[in-house]
């Protein structure tokens, strides 16, 4: 049914990717798009650091600085970090649990395309009158006052990509609950699967508050409602609550999968099972739970009162306990192991001290009265970059090297990887460590420039130099990717030799049906167990038989495209607060929604039963033939 996989033309490849519902191809899409947005956010970061290199600098105007700073945050969180993590979840999690795909392959594609169009829409703001300028938090009093359509791009773009994230989260929950191979009990799941599971649950619970907040803000700006307009009886503090009830769990949505990645890498390259597996699982669940109990620590200076501040201070400190458990478990996993320093392992080793610094400054900020000083200063900027770069980006870079063979069948150059790591690690600490002190010395965050004579010159210069090192590191990584792809030297199923989980038992890249026979899981670290018994393959749980596969579909693309079109209509509708409504606004809104709902209708009315790969073809595949 699906096209024969001989050498495909470019057109056929593009069509394949536009219509694919295969989790491994969707992983490629997420990695490519997320990687592109990561570079974009990185360039924005560089502009920020160039502007702040010296006092009273004029590299960009104040307004443009605010736009760049807002888009840097928004892009890195929503369009880079999360999608790249989704790439690895898609590439790895179904295989780790012995499944042939996610529970809802169609929704998986839909989730990606919604994210894609949301991200493109948000970034089109650069060309259509200016980007959002109220910070990624978009606090209501400022965002309502913002001129131009920047904030509208933010509200509409985030709603579209947010739907995608929510759908993907639900999909992973359903997949992990329902699609595990025989024997894969919850307490035998690899840690990356566990953290994906918990992060997905967090997505399910955290994205609705964001969607509601952004939805209300959209109505205020585009249709003249007054949810956040104080003069009309609205309330802006509610926005802060909405945002942070989402915003704090979001941190864990990002960092838990990164924890999962390190929990795979550290045992692999220590040749030792994860120390304290059940306490690692418990700590993950607990972090996820506590993540919802602490949002008001972002609002200590808002004036919530002493009791609220004290309670949220203590709740926040509590998160340090499960996080500490994880750190010590990783250390003890390496203790007594046989540690091989590869690039992924190097990132893991860099992650531990970096993340610990980010973690302890987090506890310091939990001390509410101390946070009155630290809040909204460069100390906070330093803190969350230590958490997000030291935790999440190191995790992403580690996973890029670690899973590259599984995703593309080739191995990134280790030598260039060492160079990237070294430059990135030094650059990162150089950029952000000094910022703790800048904050303590009285530098507020989100300032477009700073005045001379306040003792802030040297620190800012050092910080900017570090940013340049990080940029060089990323360029080398890109070069590495290109060189590796050109060389195209294929690797085997278990290129790291010490793979422990099931993804390392099947070919790199895996065949599109993943497992010819669903494997039988006989314990934690399934593949390791089989290897230790001298086996070359997983134990099958079923006889060889026909495999049922879903058909490709272009419908997810069109559902998302419809919302993309509708967003333009909504933005230029005649009621909008900017006052540049167009007569075509409303018709375009209706046409866009028509495309979306029409596509949904087609999907609902047309029966699509998928197809089967026949047993004979699978046997053929063994002899070197290719199942198309």
């Amino acid at each position: 049914m699906s096209s024969v996989a001989v050498k495909k033309g470019l057109g056929a490849s593009v069509w394949e990717y536009l219509t694919t519902v295969d989790h491994k191809k969707i992983a490629h899409l997420y990695l490519g798009t997320g990687g592109f947005f990561f570079l974009l956010g990185g360039i924005e970061a560089l502009f920020i650091r160039i502007q702040l290199m010296k006092p009273n600098n004029n590299f960009v105007s104040e307004q443009l600085f605010n736009e760049i700073m807002t888009m840097h945050g928004t892009t890195m969180i929503f369009l880079a970090a999360m999608p790249i993590l989704f790439a690895f979840m898609n590439a790895v999690v179904p295989i780790q649990i012995g499944a042939r795909d996610v529970a809802f392959p169609f929704l998986n594609a839909l989730g990606f395309w919604l994210f894609f169009f949301g991200g493109v829409f948000l970034n089109l703001s650069w060309f259509l009158g200016g980007a959002p300028d109220a910070g990624w938090t978009s606090y209501a009093s400022l965002s309502l006052r913002s001129e131009g359509h920047g904030i509208d791009f933010y509200t509409l773009g985030l709603q579209i990509s947010g739907f995608g994230t929510l759908i993907s989260g639900i999909n992973f929950l359903a997949t992990i609950i329902n699609m595990r191979a025989p024997g894969m009990s919850f307490m035998r799941m690899p840690l990356f699967t566990w953290t994906t599971f918990i992060a997905s649950a967090l997505i399910l619970l955290a994205f609705p508050p964001l969607t509601i907040g952004v939805f209300l803000l959209m109505f205020d700006r585009l249709f003249g409602s007054n949810f956040f307009d104080v003069t009309m009886g609205g309330n802006t503090i509610i926005w802060e609550h909405f945002f942070w009830i989402f915003g704090h769990p979001e941190v864990y949505i990002l960092v838990l999968p990164a924890f999962g990645i390190f929990s795979e890498i550290i045992p692999t390259f220590s040749r030792k099972r994860l120390f304290g597996y059940s306490s690692m699982v418990f700590a993950t669940v607990l972090i996820g739970f506590l993540g919802f109990m602490v949002w008001a620590h972002h609002m200590f200076t808002t004036g919530l009162g002493n009791v609220a501040n004290a309670i949220f201070a203590i709740a926040t400190m509590a998160i340090a306990v499960p996080t500490g458990i994880k750190i010590f478990n990783w250390l003890l996993t390496m203790w007594g192991g046989s540690i091989k320093i590869t690039v992924p392992m190097l990132y893991a080793l860099g992650f531990i001290p970096s993340f610990v610094i980010g973690g302890v400054t987090g506890v310091m900020q939990a001390v509410a009265p101390l946070d009155y000083q630290l809040h909204d200063t460069y100390f906070i900027v330093a803190h969350f970059h230590y958490v997000i770069i030291g935790g999440v980006v190191f995790g992403i870079l580690a996973a890029t090297h670690f899973y590259w063979p599984k995703m593309f069948g080739t191995k990134l150059s280790e030598k260039m990887g060492y160079v990237t790591f070294t430059l990135f690690f030094i650059g990162f600490h150089c950029t952000f460590f000094i910022q703790h002190f800048l904050g303590l010395m009285g530098m507020p965050r989100r300032v477009a420039t700073f005045l001379p004579g306040q003792g802030l010159e040297l620190g800012n210069l050092i910080s900017s130099i570090g940013a340049i090192l990080m940029a060089v590191a990323v360029i080398i990584l890109l070069f590495n990717v290109v060189i590796t792809s050109i060389r195209n030297k294929k690797v085997g199923a278990d290129p790291w030799e010490d793979g422990r989980t099931m993804e390392w038992a099947i070919a790199s890249p895996p065949p599109f049906y993943n497992f010819k026979q669903t494997p039988l899981v006989r314990g934690l670290d399934t593949w390791w167990l089989e290897k230790m018994e001298g086996k070359k393959e997983l134990t099958p749980a079923e006889p060889l038989g026909d495999i049922h596969m879903p058909n490709n579909s272009i419908i997810p693309f069109f559902i998302s495209l419809g919302l993309f079109v509708a967003a333009f209509g909504a933005m230029y509708n005649p009621l909008n607060s900017v006052g540049d409504g167009k007569s075509w606004g409303l018709p375009v809104l209706i046409i866009g929604l028509g495309i979306t709902f029409g596509s949904m209708l087609i999907r609902s009315l047309r029966d699509d039963f998928g197809y089967h790969i026949h047993k004979e073809d699978l046997l053929e595949d063994d002899k070197g033939g290719k199942v198309g």
């Binding site: 400022l142 503090i237 004036g303 009162g305 610990v356 000083q373 009285g442 700073f450 003792g455």
Partner: protein, 356 residues
Amino acid sequence: MKFGRLSFLFLLLTLVLAGCGEPFLSTLKPAGEVAETQLTLLFISTSIMVLVILVVVIIYLIVLFRFRRKKGEENKIPKQVEGSHKLEIIWTVIPILLLLSLSVPTIAATFKLGDVKDMDKVDKDGNREALVVNVRANLYWWEFEYPDLGIITSQDLVVPTDEKVYFNLKASDVKHSFWVPAAGGKMDTNTDNENKFYLVFDKEKADEAGNLFYGKCAELCGPSHAYMDFKVKAVSRDEFNQWATAMQKNKEEVQPTSDLAKQGQEVFQANNCIACHAVTANDARPETARTAPNLADFGNRTRVAGILEYNEENLKAWIQNPEKFKPGNQMYKEANLSEEELDALAEYLMGLKVQE
């Protein structure tokens, strides 16, 4: 033993951090009780955290040096350890104890610094005992109203040293945040409600800082967020009283003496600057009408527009071209005044003094 190490760390940190920043701006050079409490919390929490980091780093280094795969061990399979209840309990319980010990001063300080009960304490005549300042944050400028004294000033906050000064904080357009780093943590000025807190300025520390502390807006509020600075003149109670009395007497505008200044006054009135800018300290208009900084004591300002050095040249440049210095400000983008008019205006404005 542990306590000794902790206090050693404490000492070391004090030494390292004390070298940081300017006395008029740095949170590490506290100017009063509030900032001191917060700095102590910084030291306590940093000490505990450095202790945690040390433990992690020691284990980390041992692991790195002892357990690297060596030549000839390529096929060695280490023992697959499942875990250790004893160790896991240790590294659960010890952090809990550390955090509990941190939470005690946290809660105590939260309630201490958040205590504004004395704000409304009155003496037997029904007069408020403490000094209260109403702070109103506006797009890129600050208004300071002393409700019990009946005076209003802008940009330069004047406070007496060695006593608690209470603040009512709010914003009139978008959310800002009121922060005098050397004197204590910030508090947001919301558009929805009034926040209250207090700060203390020590005489001794004020002297070290040249009696002038820097204040900042800490919440992103638009393109000129970085320029929304104000200054705090911390003076002795006597000096403060003198200033307050002079301000109270300033019920009518100080009439200019020189011809140039008189000309300036005419320009000021002809261009209707007076519609927004009051030139007396007892502006009786409601706050919604007070849409620009009060200029009653402008001759004694420490900065032009909160950021530029106080001199005639800067003043003239600011009046002619405010957008260049504070983009997005609510005055106007640029004026079209002649050089003579500017000279006159500057002369007039710099002569607006309630006291010498």
